[in-house]
Every structure is written in C-alpha cells, then in structure tokens.
C-alpha cells in the first residue's frame, strides 16, 4: 500500500515538473512581432518638427463604429500648429490591407486640434494610421499604432 502511494506521489511530481517545463517553453517561445511597445497616443513626428497627439474624440474606441478622433499638433516648443494640411492613410500590417474608410481632417477646433473624421476599425488587431502633415514649419509624418 505504502509503495503504491509512493508511485502516485512520484507520478504527481513528474506531472508537476512537466507542467513547469511546458510553462517555461511557452513563456519564452518567440512570438509574432507586436506593436505593443509603441501604442503611445502622443509622439514626436519623424523629422521632429511637431509633437502629435491622436485620441478618440469620445475617449473610447468602439469597434465597427464610424468615429471621429482628434489630432493635436504642437511645435516641439509647445506652440499650437495652425493651418496644417493633413492627409491620412493606413491599414493592418499583419493582414496587408488598408483602412476600410478614408478618414479626413474635417475641422480645425483651435489650439492645434484637428478633427479626423471617418475613422473605423472593423476588426480587432493591430492597425496603423499614417499622417502626412504640412504646415508653416514644414512637412513631416507620424505613424500611430492602435491595437484593439
């Protein structure tokens, strides 16, 4: 009887060891590249002309809804950028397709804030929005990642 329990305990110990090994393998396995390190809503543009902030106008993102977002542009010294011409493109890098809509900068709301209307994220995953910005200070680009 005692030896049976010894085998059973030994078996459980081996199972626990196997679980531990599997956990280590799973946790250290290479994963597909994720943009999780770069989902900031505020960043300096590629040529460091502007500081851009991109956020949903209503504060939350709702998948499948046509939404407006706000792009706020300041110079690196903190002055609001007025009269900027903005074009938007983007898509899902992992699916190799573009945006399901054509968002546009529709209104200037003052204090460097531009309404970007017509933004829709139809599926979960990693989306990218590319902004080309032209203003008195020059032209620059910035990319925002949005992960749903």
């Amino acid at each position: 009887m005692a030896s049976l329990w010894r085998y059973l305990l030994g078996g459980l110990g081996l199972a626990a060891l196997l679980a531990g090994v599997l956990a280590v393998v799973y946790l250290t396995a290479p994963h597909a590249p994720q943009p999780s390190s770069d989902v900031g809503r505020s960043k300096t543009t590629a040529n460091k002309l502007f500081v851009a902030t991109f956020e949903p106008e209503k504060g939350v993102i709702r998948q499948g809804e046509l939404e407006s977002w706000l792009l706020t542009l300041n110079t690196v010294h903190g002055a609001p950028v007025e009269g900027a011409a903005i074009t938007i493109s983007g898509g899902m890098p992992q699916h190799k397709h573009g945006l399901p809509t054509s968002p546009q900068a529709t209104d200037y709301l003052g204090a460097g804030r531009y309404r970007i209307d017509g933004v829709k994220f139809t599926m979960s995953g990693w989306w990218q929005l590319h902004f080309a910005i032209s203003a008195a200070a020059g032209s620059d680009t910035v990319v925002f990642n949005v992960v749903l």
Partner: protein, 399 residues
Amino acid sequence: MSRFSSLLVLVVVAVLAGWGRPEFSDAERQTIASLALSRLPPLKPDTTNRFADVPAAAALGSTLFFDTGMSGDGTVSCSTCHKIDRQFQDDLPQAIGVGRTNRRTMPLAGVAHDPWFFWDGRRDSLWAQALTPLENPLEQAGNRAAFAHYIKARFGERYERIFGPLSDLSSVPANASPLGTDAEKAAWNAMPASQAEEVNRVFANIGKAIAAFERSIAPPQTRFDRFAIDVAAGAEPKGDAAFSPEEILGLKLFIGKANCVTCHNGPRFTDGSFHNTGVPPVAGLPPDRGRVDAVRQVEADPFNCFGAFRDGDASACRELRFMVKAGPELVRAYKTPSLRGAATRPPYMHAGQFSSLDEVVAHYSKAPASVEGTSEIHPLQLSDRERAALVAFLKTLAE
C-alpha cells in the same frame, strides 16, 4: 493516512472532471461574449428616412414587400426571392426574378444594421436598396412612372396618410424611367422636371416604406447565444445550451487558429466590410468585380445619401463621405455575410459558388489565389477533424 488519501482522491477526481468541462481563457471568454446576440445594440434611427420607425409606413411597406403587383409583369415581389419562411432568401445559387440574376439572394435578419447594401455595397441605405430591384429588368422589371400610377390607384389613401398628398399624375406617361427601355427613357426625358421629381419622390417613398418594414426583421436567439451568455457569466451552460466537445473545438478554432472571427465579428458575425477571399467566379455569368464597380454606382445613385430625397441633414452621410473609392483591395471584394442561420441556407457566397458549409470551410482552409485582385486569406492546413468541428460550431448559430 486515510484522510490524506481521500483528499488526494478528491483532488485527482476534481482535476479529471475539470478536463471534461469547456475551458476558455479570459480573452476567449471576452470574444465569445462579444458575439452573443444580447450584445447587438438597438437599431440606430435612420434620419435619412423620417418614416423609418412610423408603424403605418412599415405596414404599407410590408404590403408592398409581398405584392406581386410591384413588378413589370405582375408576377414578382420582394418576397419572391426574400421568402418569409426561408430567412428571407430563396435557397438558389442565383436569384430568379423576372429573369436570372448573377447574385445570391441575401437573407434579411438584422439587415438594417448594415452600413452598405447588396453583396458589393452599391447602395448606402436600406430604402435606396429597396428601389433597385424594382427597376432591374432581371428582378422586378418595373419602371418608376408605372409604380407611381400603381401606388396612387391601389394604395392612394394609405400612401397619403403617411407621406402627404399625391399630386395629379394624369399627365405622367404610363411607363417612364431613366433606367428603362429606350421607349421608357424617351418618355422620361420628355417629362417636365417637376413631374420627374414628383415621380422620383413617390418612388423614394416606396423604398422608405419597404425599409421601415425591413427594420423589423431581427435575428432570433440561437443555441450559441444561450451558450455564450453562460460562458460570459462564468456559469456552466446547461441543457441545449451545453456544447459538445466538437462544437467547443469548432468555436475555439473560429475565434482562434482559423481566424474566422477577424471578419465575422460582433453579434451579427460580420464586420460589415468588403473583402476579397479568393471565391472563384461562376462560369457563364457576366464579369463581376465586386466592390470596385459598386463604388461608382453608389456615387451615381440619385437616391444616395447626398441626393435630394434624403430626409434630415447630411451629417447622416458619413459612410458615403468617407467611403474608400479606389484601390486594389476593392477588386472582387464582397461583403462579409452574417453567419447567423447560415447553416440552414445553402448554397453559399455571392453567387452560390459552394453548395455546403464543408465546401466553404475547405475553401478557407485551402485559401486559393483570387482570379483577379489579391485574396486576403491565407492557407490554414486544417485537419478533417478541425474542418468538421468548424461546421459543427456554425450549426449552433442556426439552432
């Protein structure tokens, strides 16, 4: 010793019992919850159709929907293809109205939630959609002047109670339309502009009444929804809500490795958007390039949201305003269909290309290249068992 051993037996039994139960990660649980019918938001008001939620308009729309008088030869109604006892579709690979069309009839449950209509989205409102088959020579094969006369003669009083007075149509030709035969086009072009506008207004109101009726067609709750409500609440599904191991495997594949949920998402199992998934064309049918041709059609439609017959203001036209108008992705892109009830309405795809769900799943597993444009899907290498499990899961959306 005996207390210790009984405790150990209890632990082993509990572990073994746990293996038999559906186990989902938090992320899976969230995805399952997001697909439940209880998550479907209420229908938004359609400000472009101020009669959309007027009961008398829906009642007239329902009459018109089933009325074969709403066709050129008096034999075809909306319900000829959108059959009420068949999920408002007709089980045919391509719809047959007055003639044979090149597209599969779409079911109507929840249709009013869509931003775009038809397989290619060539209309931007439910009421503008309803007008299109009325004048298509292969569908109802009528013309708008004849429809205006018919409405006045047959439903004049009901119409006027909803939409206001009908003007005198006695000088309007019996048959006239900008889209009809040469004779109908000539008759249309000879009409004074004010008269053409009045006919167009009656025609638009026909669409608005039919749309008001169609807004009431909602998807029913399914076994999957009962299962999902329990899973979301952390409860164990009981009775018919409990899934078999095969159905659970199918669901896990659907929201996991098979990537179905990427496009078939939300409570209606559709992202409402357009995708090229390499579905082959049907030999003998006219060339069909999907969304890329529909973009121009919806822009040219006088009944679109920017047109003169929209109620309310242009703030309702954001889908049309921000529509993607060009790009290689639009080639042979078709709307993601809802999967609710799909298991009991073969054949599948925009021209009925596949006769069973097995064929559909096999297509997505193999992911062949598109004949034109680029397919967005990638080969999945699903085993026979996995493909069967996906089909078993899809059936829970039709039970």
